[in-house]
Symmetry: C2
């Protein structure tokens, strides 16, 4: 038997997400549950894969199965595809495994042609609706399937309206619509040199192809990249019989969530429009009515919808995002999916559903995307400062949080300006083309559109603060300013917006850091109870350490000692040290640095008390501390009282061709042991001092960077241990300390068992390990990694998500081989992957004891570590 | 029972080399064979290791065993240590597993003091000899054991000779010698603030310590590094009862080889001096007599020595290097070891010993150090040019080969100048301090010393051409010139020397390439019959390819296509290609390059015919082809007719922080597929053309560099295959070609099985693999690798010898895992390790099909590959 590429909704179920896509599986599931779903079928994701394998061609078998499904649909509906007497119209939509809003394309009203339109006008007795649908179909087909410029058609409507002296599309008459259909077909011919296809079968196959092709548009690829969706998944195509929300005042269409996606409140949340097709609601052109008002307009539909929403939520055990259409008073469910929500909402829904006994705690934990928490971990407005700020406008609180930044009017500009500081994107409304710009700004402000408009949906997904539909604003993009009331704001001026209230302000408002409380704290406590990996933070200052503690860090996994060297008053001593000609000179400079470093460590110890603190010895190449250009070198020469030429030569001699693989890390300890001795002294003396002062028992962890060889580590460890033991002996106190190493060269990973012999702990430096394993300089790979992603070679930048295939194989090998010889060896990670949820899942699977990440990612890591445990169980 | 740290010669044997060192094992073996050896004992290498473990201290157990051995020696000799009535004197010498000439220190005449000297004068009736020995002992002990300045003592002798108005040491009277002893002891006290030790036991223990310590002198470390000797071996100490060659005219001492170490001729070769101690011969101060003359001076000793030499050679199955002493007419053997020899001699001895049935071919192959062959593979004088050159002086032909270079007078200068071109080191005589300079020059010329002088021995070991003892030369080092006859040669002028004839010339003589013939060819044919790995060469031009064939290469393992881009007439088109703003511009530039590249490949194919040729696609980052400084960029801008500023910006934008890990290798194919298409076209069209032209069947191997991912390779392979197949189809001919990749990133090694799926062959690029596995930039690591070697972290620079522990582990893993999925996958190496004998041994063990190296290393690789097979068998 041939493989099945097409499933009627009645043949599938909700678990067939991989094959049917999320939308298709849910349509099947709703059908199975007996919900009022317009019937249809799904072309599988496997057909999509085959389409690409066949060189972007739909093969005969798939085509055959599609037309067989059409025949079955005809039997179910009693209508016939292309038959004027009883015509069946369909919608064609994409549907990947996970929802990709705005990314994939849709064609409605497919199956219409002149004959069908003609007879349908008689059948419905509503020719204006029919020809409106017809011209929309031609527009959508031309745009989506053939990629013809939208303007060509829109201009025609504008011209006609001008000619008629009218403002709105709704004022166009039936005859106008007919005229547009004729004119649109002419334009189609002009642009393509072929007639608009009147055969519904041709229309259908072309539309299916277009959906498959849209899987690989740059926009879709970009969305996948941002959302960790593998390109090999492919998309399914859903073909569904049309129902019409635009058949008159007894018809309508809407979108609603089973709970509030912004706050999580347990009540229906959404919008509808009567006498409209679905696109009108989402597109944000007409301002829709809140879902509660449906009670007043069509109570039976409201009540049925409310009941179905609850039924679906119970069934899917998750908040639902639903589309419905009312055709002549009858409710149809067009789609349901787990709803996107703000982090705040996700937390509340999780906590509520657990108290409603809808979910277990573990199930609830899995419902929250750890990356989303980021939005809760950033600043909000300072209350005091906020009280003094005047509200100049108000819009919909579309995505929570607060934002303050310089105003830009285009996404491109946003991308540019965001490099220089906080930025606010202000637009009439956003569109999928704006995604990259939306991702980099602090906040988004739109003048039109509702809570389900593009701007609102995307901003919530990204955790970016958004105020939508603020009609007080008038934007003059061309001249680069906006007005709000009587105020004028130029592009580049500061504005502030509050995504929790919808308030808009001119100028800056002070921001304060976030705290973990309420539902967030509850969820974090569940996560902490589940996870087995500890979470530490990377922190170089007492302030960082405090922030880390505040977010629940259980220790410091990485203190970079070199960061302390860059401070203005210290850099001079550092440069003296580097440029010393003799060991004695160097020692003199180091003697100056010692009390400073010791003070740094004391500050951190005081905050962390007895929690583990891992301090890494000097890592970067020495030339990083030196000036580069002539002026600065001259200045330094005169400060140091040395000859410019000589200093210039010394600086030159320290230059490196490939500094990443140069004279840095523990190589500095081998060549300049006196630096290592100074740092060890600072670490140990600081611990002794703070132990004395606070009566506590600090156990410093001294970390040796960039080890590539067991003997190398033994040599450097010797320097550290002999220095430390001497100081401890002199102090007359007891102090336990540990000496470990980073595993960040492939050789250290490959020889991990031998390296372990000289190490009390390992911390994987996956930034450098990724650089060396791939042979990618992080500073330079930006020039080609985007090509690798757009060519589908990489799913994701390996510096963002740990490459579990390659780098991960080395990490796993290092863990297993070292634990074999030293079962209690402590294993952690301090590369940036330590804060990335999918990397954390991998790291949990290899058995790390802890991850360490930036303070602001600690809660994300706590949740991700818990999810990893739960996922690994199943 | 306690561990045995001290062995009498009679307790050991020749196989105990690891424990007793080479010298100790051979003294034991000679004792076992019944040869006349002055008896003694050996302190083991394990004692040396313990000495370092104990913080450079000889522990009580070892000391106890030493004195027990002394007692046994006293029983054997009937003399007693420190007993004036019948005093026993001993020599103390180092003896590592392998001979390290000039590197380790010796103390003679140990056991003497005032009482002993006094009674010994009576016993021998030769007080001058006794006090001469005594003052020598004080000098040696002060120098070797305590490191006191030699001059302090030498000056005293000079002063005394001036006072006496005499020229030679031999003119000093007995009383003078006594005076010197007194004065030397005073000097010793002045310098050390303690009395010269008169207790022989104290003398002995201090001397043993000094030998152990000398294992870690910079000189010894440097020698080990150059000769691949691990530092953990340690040295043994040999304590041997003294016999005296300086007891009068019936005594003497000499050094001789059982065959000629320069030519391999089967006859005794060496020198002796009557009434002298061993050091006098080696030091090159008195000019010794050739060994044949011993017949005339002391026939019985000569005959006995000849017979013993033959006996030892038969026993050890190798040419012997022996030291002997005649004491009052009686012959004593002091040492034997396998003799160092020139490459030419090694080949002749190997071939001769096989025809003498002394060795099997396989045994003979193992006797030749492959690295030595290098000296035979370089140029000799052009015969015609040589005929026209006038000989200005003649010395001893101490190390064969010819050399022509600029004259320098110090080793330091040599190190400096050798960077700029061929260099000749000219000195009165060389000393161990000069080793680094001797290693980098083309030739060495000395004015004094014989064939066993330091210069001669070391030069032969290094395969550097040497003419020794050319007394025609007068060097004025201070004023920077030399005279030879009436000619003056300034430092920096050219001279030429012939190490085969001893002839010295002023000016340049043309050199011609070496060829493989005679014994060399015989040995190579044996090696070829034994080895299983093929040997290819890295060659970028038809000329290189010819040289490679000449040396026996069986194919080309690496043709670097970028080398073809640097030629003056091409670089402009290359730069146009790089700086193109559009694909079309780039294509235009590529169209210009295509015929040039095609021509390059045709040339190489014509030489190699049907032998495999692996061509690597463009590898370096594009900025390597661009000018850097302002002037050059301006010039290029005007040549290209573009704006300077714009060009400067483009050049800037291509700059990379870590170019080694930047936009290069197959990353260029991903971003600029048109370059890959052009190169593929050139490779395939050239093969088609040459196949047509010569009626042969070339199978080009296209190699993709720097792969880090299986999908990446699949993508680039697709570009290559689709281009190639189209061209082949158009040509209407059949052409088989292969597409493979380099394995040079750790990730490619780790994912080798998946990479293999898209590859017909692998070639390990161990240069880059070493860089990335260690995280060492080869361009920068020179700043710290020497510290790693001097700190004993590395035995050897990993860029010279493949790091079998780390990099090798990745190579082995890649081989095993890829062969598992593709058993016939061809595996090779084209990094520089492919020409390094010990790396080749490793590569043979992991099962590579071939190694590829520079043409001049091909014969070395052939021999090393054969040795690897033989060693692996046993």
């Amino acid at each position: 038997m041939n493989k099945k590429y097409v499933y009627l909704f009645s043949e599938g179920n909700g678990k067939m997400r991989e094959l049917l896509g999320g939308k298709g599986a849910n349509l099947a599931e709703m059908t199975r549950l007996g919900l009022p779903v317009p019937q249809g079928f799904t072309v599988t994701t496997e057909a999509c894969t085959l389409y690409y394998e066949d060189g972007e061609r739909i093969n005969d078998e798939i085509e055959k199965q599609i037309f067989e499904a059409i025949e079955k649909l005809e039997q179910i509906t009693g209508k016939r595809f292309g038959d004027p007497r009883s015509p069946m119209l369909v919608s064609v939509r994409s549907g990947a495994r996970v929802s990709m809003p705005g990314m994939m394309d849709t064609v409605l009203n497919l199956g219409i042609n002149d004959d069908v339109a003609n007879s349908l006008s008689e059948l419905t007795n509503n020719p204006r609706f029919v020809y409106d649908s017809y011209r929309r179909f031609i527009q959508m087909f031309s745009d989506v399937v053939l990629g013809l410029p939208k303007n060509s058609f829109e201009n025609e409507i504008t011209k006609l309206k001008e000619k008629r002296g009218i403002t709105y599309d709704s004022e166009l008459s039936t005859e106008d619509m007919k005229l547009l259909v004729v004119r649109f077909k002419e334009i189609y011919f002009e642009l393509t040199n072929s007639s608009f296809p009147s055969d519904p079968k041709v229309q259908l196959i072309e539309a299916v192809k277009a959906v498959f092709s849209s899987w690989n548009t740059p926009r879709a690829i970009s969305y996948r990249r941002m959302n960790d969706i593998p390109s090999w998944w492919g998309t399914a195509v859903n073909v569904q019989t049309m129902v019409f929300g635009n058949m008159g005042d007894n018809s309508g269409t809407g979108v609603a969530f089973s709970r509030d996606p912004a706050t999580g409140e347990n009540k229906l949340y959404g919008e509808f429009l009567m006498n409209a097709q679905g696109e009108d609601v989402v597109a944000g052109i007409r301002t829709p009515m809140p879902i509660e008002s449906l009670k007043d307009v069509c109570l039976s539909a409201y009540e049925e919808f409310s009941a179905l929403a609850r039924k679906l939520e119970l069934h899917f055990k998750d908040m639902q995002d639903m589309e419905f259409t009312i055709e002549n008073g009858k409710l149809y469910m067009l789609q349901t999916r787990n709803g996107k929500r703000t982090a705040q909402s996700a937390l509340k829904i999780a906590v509520d559903m657990v108290s409603e006994s809808l979910l277990t705690k573990e199930e609830a934990l899995l419902k929250i995307d750890p990356r989303q928490l980021d939005s809760l971990l950033h600043a909000r407005f300072d209350e005091k400062d906020l009280k003094q700020a005047a509200v100049v406008g108000t819009g919909l609180a579309a995505s929570p949080g607060a934002a303050c930044g310089r105003v830009v009017f285009t996404a491109d500009k946003a991308v540019e300006e965001a490099k220089n500081g906080p930025t606010l994107l202000v637009r009439n409304e956003t569109s999928p083309e704006d995604i990259e710009g939306m991702a980099v700004v602090q906040g988004i402000l739109t003048s039109t559109g509702g809570r389900t408009s593009h701007a609102a949906v995307v901003a919530r997904g990204m955790g970016v603060c958004c105020v939508a539909g603020c009609s007080d604003i008038r934007i003059n993009e061309e001249q680069g300013y906006l007005t709000v009331g009587n105020n004028r704001v130029n592009e580049g001026d500061y504005m502030s917006i509050d995504g929790n209230t919808g308030n808009v302000y001119i100028g800056k408002i002070k921001m304060v850091a976030a705290a973990i409380s309420g539902d967030f704290a509850t969820v974090m406590s569940w996560a902490d109870a589940v996870r087995t990996m500890k979470v530490r933070a990377n922190a170089d200052t007492p302030k960082d350490a405090e922030a880390a503690l505040n977010f629940g860090a259980e220790g410091i996994g990485l203190t970079r000692t070199e960061h302390m060297f860059f401070q203005a008053e210290r850099i001079f001593a550092v440069r003296q040290m580097i440029l010393s000609q003799t060991s004695e000179q160097r020692q003199k400079a180091l003697d100056k640095l010692l009390p400073m470093q010791r003070g740094d460590f004391e500050g951190i110890y005081r905050v962390m008390r007895e929690r583990p603190v891992t301090i890494r010895l000097l890592d970067p190449p020495l030339h990083e501390f030196l000036p580069n250009d002539e002026g600065e070198i001259r200045k330094l020469a005169s400060e140091m009282g040395v000859d410019y030429e000589k200093l210039h030569d010394t600086v030159d001699s320290l230059h490196e061709i490939n500094p990443m693989m140069g004279h840095r890390g523990c190589r500095l300890s081998v060549t300049y042991p006196e630096i290592t001795k100074m740092q060890t002294r600072a670490i140990i003396e600081a611990a002794i001092n703070v132990n004395r002062e606070m009566g506590i028992n600090i156990v410093p962890e001294i970390m040796i960077p960039l080890t590539c060889d067991p003997k190398e580590l033994a040599t450097v460890r010797d320097i550290v241990v002999s220095t430390a033991d001497e100081i401890i002996a002199e102090s007359g106190l007891k102090l336990h300390y540990e000496v470990g190493t980073m595993i960040e060269t492939p050789r250290a990973a490959v020889l991990a068992d031998e390296v372990a012999a000289h190490s009390d702990f390992f911390s994987f430096g996956t930034n450098d390990l990724t650089q060396m394993t791939f042979g990618f300089s992080r500073d330079d790979a930006g020039k080609f990694i985007p090509s690798y992603i757009s060519s589908n070679i990489f799913e994701k930048d390996p510096f963002e998500r740990l490459d579990s295939d390659g780098v991960g194989k080395l990490v796993r090998y290092a863990c297993e081989s070292s634990r074999k010889v030293k079962p209690k060896l402590s294993l952690g990670i301090c590369g940036e992957h330590g804060g990335d949820p999918s990397s954390i899942e991998f790291l949990n699977s290899v058995g790390l004891d802890y991850v360490s990440c930036s303070p602001y990612r600690v809660p994300i890591a706590r949740l991700a570590a818990a999810q990893a445990v739960i996922k690994q169980k199943s």
